[in-house]
């Protein structure tokens, strides 16, 4: 009888080990412990990346593995090609150069902010193939299922010779990426700003990291969440007043997440003034899943805030955060550790409210920031801005929203997350925020997407807030009422002008639509004087000089 062929159970490990041997011979004496000099980066990448590999290049919302991105564009496409790139964020030109150079061909990602227009052009020319556009949590999840990286190129603040990494406050995506790669036969390479004898704290254990490269320059990092209070308009103040009085106070929202933008920055700056004057301190906004927005400083100083867990950090906020360990999640070394995966999970499951802006809302309440000439993705908004159907714990805000929903759609008692879309009816250049059909449909056709890229589905949205008032979609009995409730706050857009006046007045009588005056808000009070800080300098002053804004935000 023939002996059965022996099954190999460690093929992937053998493959990794062969790559490591190739790296050792390519690097020779220039490799010391795990440290690779910057001028050998390209040789290292050519040794450990095989054609067709899945490569996770750390591009986060804020920090960028920019030196490794640049090095990757310099490898020989005759040796390494057809790469399948995995990235949270496409932020740098190099991220797309890879496809023009014939090094990469397939992309799975979450957000492409600054590269959105070029990405759309390249997709149009067939230069790049998109696997899917994910949410952050979705992409991290797939790293542990079917998109596990063969090679991860990550970025940290410092490392020691054994590969222990200190990420600093911008830990962001690094732990999720490294864990998926290191425990499934992958290779982890980190670029670091400095080599040290001992890292301030170990964010990534050295035995999960194969190589460390001191980069010639500190990594790029974007202060994405800094909003200058000087640019907040009176309309935004008015909308913030409605959010606080008409939604936060109404439901007693204690746990929440804010999107990026001046609309929500206005809310943050009204907490110590307007919200405090309504007696809401301690009753709303105690716990947050939020980046350390500088516009939160006055609310924190006023004692409004008990805790903030962050997806990433924010440039200039480091010393302030370190001085407020009761509020932020700071390590034994004193600096913050952020974590995008955990904070996204917190925003999805542990928050009672998400509020954010969008570019377009249709008459079913679906919203999207996709436009025909840009493929941008949505990052974390779809997870923040979705009712967590898996949630089981109750809170007063969650129960009240659920009760309102059941008043229209009877069912077994359960709660409901509050998902608020906050938009002015017209954006700049008179672009209407309310439309009959989202541009997402045209983009889906143009880019051959299986479904239109919707940021937040109408069924997940509970409130739409504009300068004209608040539409509470939980209280709508059917699709027709829902449409009229949306039109009823759509202002002078074509959709707003097309409202059924009688139905809208009826919805207002029932409290489905609320105007500022229905909430007891006098529009004349909506002035910038209500803002707890009216400039970046005010924020610095409120922080007692601890906040140190980047140069571009200093105008004094």
């Amino acid at each position: 009888m023939q002996k059965p062929t022996e099954k190999i159970w460690d093929y992937e490990r053998q493959r990794r080990n062969r790559k490591l041997e190739r790296a050792a011979s390519a690097l020779g004496a220039s490799l010391r412990d795990k440290v690779v000099p910057a001028d050998m980066a390209v040789q290292l990448l050519e040794a450990v990346i095989a054609p067709g590999d899945r490569v996770c290049l750390e591009g986060d919302n804020q920090k960028q593995a920019d030196f490794l991105a640049k090095s990757l564009t310099q490898i020989d496409p005759a040796k390494v090609n057809r790469l399948h790139m995995l990235q949270s964020v496409l932020a740098l030109p190099e991220h797309l150069d890879l496809y023009e150079l014939g090094i990469a061909e397939l992309l799975d990602f979450s957000f492409s902010g600054p590269q959105a227009a070029r990405l759309a052009r390249m997709v149009g020319k067939g230069q790049i193939r998109i696997g899917a556009i994910h949410t952050y949590l979705e992409l991290f999840s797939r790293y542990f299922v079917d998109l596990t990286p063969h090679v991860a190129l990550v970025v940290a603040q410092s490392a020691d010779a054994q590969g222990n990494l200190y990420t600093g406050p911008n830990t962001e995506d690094t732990p999720a990426i490294v864990e998926a790669t290191a425990f499934k036969n992958g290779i982890v390479i980190a670029q670091v700003n400095e080599l040290v004898d001992k890292v301030p704290r170990v964010d990534i254990p050295g035995d999960w990291v194969n190589f460390v490269i001191p980069s010639p320059r500190p990594h790029f990092i974007e202060p994405l969440f800094t909003r200058d209070p000087a640019q907040i308009s009176e309309i935004q103040v008015l909308m913030a007043m409605m959010a606080i009085k008409g939604i936060y106070a109404e439901y007693g929202v204690q746990r929440l997440n804010h999107g990026i933008g001046f609309d929500t920055a206005a809310i943050e700056l009204l907490l110590p003034t307007y919200a405090a004057s309504l007696g809401l301190k301690g009753k709303i906004c105690s716990h947050w899943a939020l980046n350390p927005h500088p516009t939160m400083i006055p609310a924190i100083e006023a004692g409004f805030v008990k805790s903030i867990h962050s997806f990433g950090s924010e440039l200039g906020m480091e010393n302030y955060i370190a001085a407020r360990p009761d509020v932020f999640f700071n390590g034994p070394d004193g600096t913050m550790r952020s974590n995008r995966a955990y904070s996204q999970a917190a925003g999805h499951y542990a928050c009672d409210l998400f509020i954010g802006s969008t570019l377009q809302i249709d008459m079913a309440g679906n919203s999207s920031t996709a436009t025909l000439d840009r493929i941008s993705g949505f990052g974390g908004a779809p997870n923040m801005g979705a009712d967590a159907a898996g949630r089981r714990h109750a809170s007063p805000a969650w129960l009240k929203a659920g009760e309102q929903r059941r008043s229209q759609q009877p069912g077994i008692p359960r709660g409901r997350k509050l998902v608020v879309q906050m938009v002015e009816t017209f954006r700049e250049h008179m672009q209407p925020a309310f439309v009959a059909e989202l541009d997402a449909w045209k983009l889906a056709e143009f880019a051959s997407m299986p479904i239109p890229p919707v940021m937040i589905y109408g069924e997940d949205v509970t409130h739409i807030l504009t300068e004209e008032g608040i539409a509470n979609l939980l209280l709508c009995a059917n699709a027709e009422e829902r449409e009229q409730a949306i039109r009823g706050v759509a202002g002078y857009t074509e959709m707003g002008l097309g409202r059924d006046l009688r139905m809208v007045e009826n919805l207002r009588d029932r409290g489905v639509i609320k105007r500022a005056e229905d909430m007891g808000i006098d529009k004349r009070d909506a002035t910038r004087d209500l803002l707890a800080a009216r400039s970046i300098k005010d924020l610095v002053r409120a922080s007692g000089g601890l906040y140190q804004p980047p140069a571009r935000f200093r105008n004094w």
């Binding site: 308009s233 009176e234 309309i235 009816t425 954006r427 202002g491 909506a526």
Partner: protein, 108 residues
Amino acid sequence: MTIENLKYRFDNGTTTRGVTAIVGVLGSGNLEVLVEPAALGGACEIEVKTAANGFGAIWHAVMKDFFARHRVGDIRVSVNDAGATPAIVSLRLDQAIETYLAQGRTKK
């Protein structure tokens, strides 16, 4: 850049004493609104100068709602617009008329 001139007239307003009021600034995305008394037989006349062309229908709707909210007659309203959204226009109009009326109430 051409400036569009739009004129509206709403009749049967209530004549209420007021004092000339000006609010807003002529900065980008903003506007300046002047409200002054005028013997117009109870009418409210509005003149808009705007650099953003082609939004006549929206201006008309905004002005109609403004008049419906306050119904103040014998006034002339002059609007100098630098690309403000309808939201800002409505807010400034409300601020201007409230200021006009408040000053009229305190005038001896």
